[in-house]
C-alpha cells in the first residue's frame, strides 16, 4: 500500500484530498479481498507443516506451530495416494498428448479457406457444444464399447474440447496465407506444410491449449467417478474425495507405524498435507505459465 501512495505523491498533476481518500478506499477494498483469498491458503500451508497435536487443538493460524514433516510423512506412507498420484500423472501426460494431437490435426483443415465440406464439419462439432446425449447414454456407450474400468474411459471421451478446437482454428486462420501460397508453388504438400510450417508457427496456442488440457486431466473427477470402479485405476481426485470429503480412511492403505485410523488429529493434519501435495504441481507451475493461461482467455475472447 505504501508503494501505491508513493506513486500518488509522485504524480505531477495535483491530487486533491478527496482523491486521496478514494485511492485509499480502493486499495483497502482490494487488500481485504486479497487477504480473504490468501488467508485460507496460508493457513493450509502452515497447518500442513505443523504437528498433529497443534492442528487437533486448533492452534495454527498463519505460521506452522512446532514445524515438522509429520503430515507429509503420513501422506507418503498412505499407499492408495501414491498409486493414485502415479495414475493421475499417467492420465495427464498421455491424455494431454492425445488431446493435442487430435485437436491440432482437426483444427488444421478447418482453418483452411475454401475447403469443400468445411462448413458442415464445423457445424457438426459446434452442435455438440449446444446439445449432448447425456449421462446415461454416455455410460451405456462406454459399457457397450467395453471401456468401463479401463484407462481408455478417461482418455477417449474428452479427446477434443470444441472450445479449444475453435481457439486453435482461429489462431491458425491468422497465419498469413502468403506463406502457404509460396510453399505451394515450391511444391510443398499439405501434410508437409502442416509439420514444417503450421506447427512451428503455432507454439503459442499449443502451449496454451496443452496447459488447459493438462489442468483438465489433473482435476478431472466426473468421468472417473462415473466409469471406474477398480481402485487400482483411480486418479488422485477420487482418493481425495474419500479422504477430504467423506472422511474415510482405507485400513489397507495405512502403512505407517502411527495409528492414523484412530487418531483424529493426525487425520486432520494428513488432510492439510494432502491438499498441498495434490495441488503442488499446478500451483508450482502457476507463476511461470500464468501468462499462457491468460493468453488463452484472450484467444478465446477474440472469437467473440
Amino acid at each position: 500500500m505504501t508503494a501505491a501512495h508513493k506513486t500518488v505523491r509522485k504524480n505531477k498533476i495535483g491530487i486533491t484530498h478527496s482523491e486521496k481518500i478514494f485511492y485509499f478506499a480502493v486499495n483497502l477494498v482490494l487488500a481485504l479481498f486479497f487477504g480473504m483469498i490468501l488467508l485460507p491458503l496460508i493457513n493450509i500451508v502452515a497447518s500442513s507443516f505443523s504437528t498433529a497435536d497443534a492442528v487437533g487443538k486448533g492452534k495454527v493460524l498463519l505460521w506452522p506451530v512446532q514445524p515438522t514433516l509429520e503430515g507429509y510423512k503420513a501422506v507418503f506412507t498412505y499407499k492408495g495416494i501414491w498409486r493414485a498420484y502415479g495414475n493421475t500423472i499417467f492420465y495427464t501426460v498421455v491424455g494431454t498428448t492425445m488431446d493435442m494431437a487430435m485437436t491440432l490435426m482437426c483444427a488444421y483443415p478447418l482453418a483452411r479457406r475454401n475447403l469443400p465440406l468445411k462448413k458442415p464439419v464445423v457445424m457438426l462439432f459446434m452442435f455438440t457444444m449446444l446439445f449432448s446425449g447425456g449421462m446415461i447414454p454416455s455410460y451405456i456407450l462406454m459399457k457397450n464399447l467395453g471401456l468401463l474400468n479401463t484407462v481408455w474411459c478417461l482418455l477417449l471421451p474428452g479427446l477434443i474440447s470444441v472450445y479449444n478446437l475453435i481457439v486453435c482454428r482461429t489462431f491458425m486462420q491468422n497465419i498469413p496465407t502468403d506463406i502457404e501460397e509460396a510453399a505451394k508453388i515450391d511444391g510443398c504438400s499439405d501434410i508437409r506444410y502442416f509439420f514444417s510450417m503450421v506447427l512451428p508457427l503455432s507454439t503459442t496456442v499449443m502451449a496454451v491449449l496443452s496447459l488447459y488440457y493438462a489442468v483438465g486431466h489433473w482435476n478431472e473427477y466426473f468421468n472417473p467417478w462415473l466409469y471406474l470402479t477398480n481402485p487400482n485405476l483411480y486418479p488422485l481426485q477420487m482418493i481425495l474425495r474419500t479422504i477430504l470429503i467423506q472422511n474415510s480412511f482405507d485400513p489397507e492403505s495405512v502403512t505407517s507405524e502411527e495409528d492414523i485410523l484412530g487418531n483424529k488429529a493426525l487425520q486432520d493434519l494428513l488432510k492439510y498435507s494432502l491438499i498441498i501435495v495434490s495441488s503442488a504441481p499446478i500451483l508450482m507451475a502457476y507463476p511461470w505459465v500464468k501468462r499462457f493461461f491468460m493468453k488463452g482467455v484472450m484467444l478465446g475472447a477474440l472469437k467473440g
Partner: protein, 314 residues
C-alpha cells in the same frame, strides 16, 4: 487478385476436393471420434422414449412415447429439481456476475504495478484448484475445532458454532460465495483486457477537465467495457438451467438435500444408483428435458443478442 478469384471459382467442387485430399486425411480420426463419442450418446438418447432393457439393446427396447417425461413432470421432483437449479443459477448470476466487474474496475485504478501484480497473481490462483480440493478446503476452513475461522475467532475469545455444511440456506450461501472466492479473479481477466484497451488520452483529457477518478470510472471505464459485459451476461444467462454436477454433488448431504438436489444430481441418482432403482430410461428423459431447455434458452439468448447487439455466437 480478382482474376485469381475467377479462376478459382471455375474449378469444380470435386476438383477442389481432390486437390485438398490430404486435408481430409487429417479429418478422418477426429470425425470418427466425434461420431462415436459425441453422436453415439445422442443416438442412445432415444431410450428416453423407450423402456430400455440392456438385453434388448437401444433399438430393440419397447417404445413408450412420452411416458418417461410424463412421469418426471408429474413427480414431486420436477418442481424441486428445476426450482433448485434455477435458484442456484440465479443467485450465482446475481452475485458472481457483478463482483468480477467491480473488482476489475477497482484493480484498474491501482497505480502501483507491483501491488497490482500481486493482487492479480493471488486472485487468479484459486481458479486452478480442483473441485474436490475446493470442497475439501471449505470443510477444513469451517471445521468446528481445527478450522482457521475457529482458530482466529478463538484468539478473540469468540466461540464458533455455525454448522456451515448443514441446512439449505447454508448450502446455497456456501456454494455461491466459495464460487466468488475461487472465480472472481479469473473472471475479471476479460474485463481487465477490455479496460487496458481504453485510450489513455480519454483519461488525460478528463483529468485536465478536472474529473475525479470516480467520475472517470463512471464516464470512461464503465462505458468502454459495456459491450464485454453484455456478451458475458448473455452467455451466462444462456446456461441458466445448467448447474454442473461436481460441486453440488460433493457438497450434498442429507441435511441440505432439499436445496441441493439439482437436475444433474437427480439424473445421476435415478439413473445409476441402486437406491432409486437404476431407471435408465427415466433418467435419460430427465436429462434430455434439461438439455432441450438449455438448447432453447441459448438459442433464444443468441437470437436476442443478434437483434440487440448485432453480435451473436452464430
Amino acid at each position: 487478385m480478382q482474376s485469381a478469384g475467377l479462376v478459382k471459382r471455375r474449378k469444380s467442387y470435386f476438383r477442389r476436393m481432390a486437390e485438398n485430399r490430404q486435408m481430409y486425411l487429417f479429418l478422418i480420426l477426429p470425425l470418427i471420434w466425434l461420431i462415436i463419442f459425441k453422436y453415439g450418446p445422442m443416438y442412445g438418447a432415444q431410450i428416453a422414449f423407450k423402456m430400455y432393457v440392456p438385453k434388448e439393446g437401444i433399438w430393440g427396447s419397447r417404445f413408450v412415447g412420452f411416458a418417461n417425461f410424463d412421469q418426471f413432470f408429474k413427480s414431486l421432483y420436477f418442481s424441486r429439481t428445476v426450482g433448485n437449479t434455477l435458484i442456484l443459477s440465479a443467485y450465482s448470476i446475481a452475485v458472481g456476475f457483478p463482483i468480477p466487474i467491480l473488482f476489475a474496475l477497482l484493480l484498474n485504478c491501482v497505480r502501483s504495478r507491483k501491488w497490482k501484480g500481486w493482487v492479480e497473481n493471488v486472485t487468479y490462483m484459486p481458479h486452478f484448484i480442483s473441485t474436490v480440493v475446493m470442497v475439501g478446503i471449505m470443510m477444513r476452513v469451517f471445521d468446528f475445532y481445527t478450522g482457521v475461522v475457529h482458530n482466529i475467532l478463538a484468539v478473540f475469545g469468540i466461540p464458533w458454532n455455525l454448522h456451515m455444511f448443514t441446512g439449505d440456506a447454508n448450502f446455497r450461501n456456501l456454494y455461491i460465495w466459495s464460487g466468488v472466492w475461487q472465480g472472481t479473479g479469473w473472471s475479471s481477466i476479460i474485463y481487465m483486457a477490455a479496460l487496458s484497451a481504453v485510450d489513455p488520452e480519454l483519461h488525460e483529457a478528463a483529468i485536465v477537465d478536472g474529473a475525479t477518478r470516480l467520475r472517470r470510472i463512471w464516464n470512461i471505464d464503465l462505458p468502454s467495457i459495456i459491450p464485454t459485459i453484455t456478451i458475458t451476461l448473455i452467455l451466462r444467462s444462456g446456461s441458466i438451467m445448467n448447474i454442473g454436477f461436481d460441486k453440488v454433488f460433493l457438497m450434498q448431504n442429507d441435511t441440505n438435500i432439499n436445496a441441493s438436489e439439482v437436475i444433474a444430481t437427480y439424473v445421476y441418482k435415478v439413473g445409476l444408483t441402486a437406491e432409486k432403482g437404476m431407471q435408465l430410461s427415466y433418467s435419460t428423459a430427465v436429462n434430455m428435458f434439461n438439455s432441450i431447455v438449455n438448447l432453447i434458452t441459448i438459442s433464444l439468448v443468441n437470437y436476442i443478442s443478434n437483434r440487440v447487439n448485432g453480435s451473436g455466437m452464430w
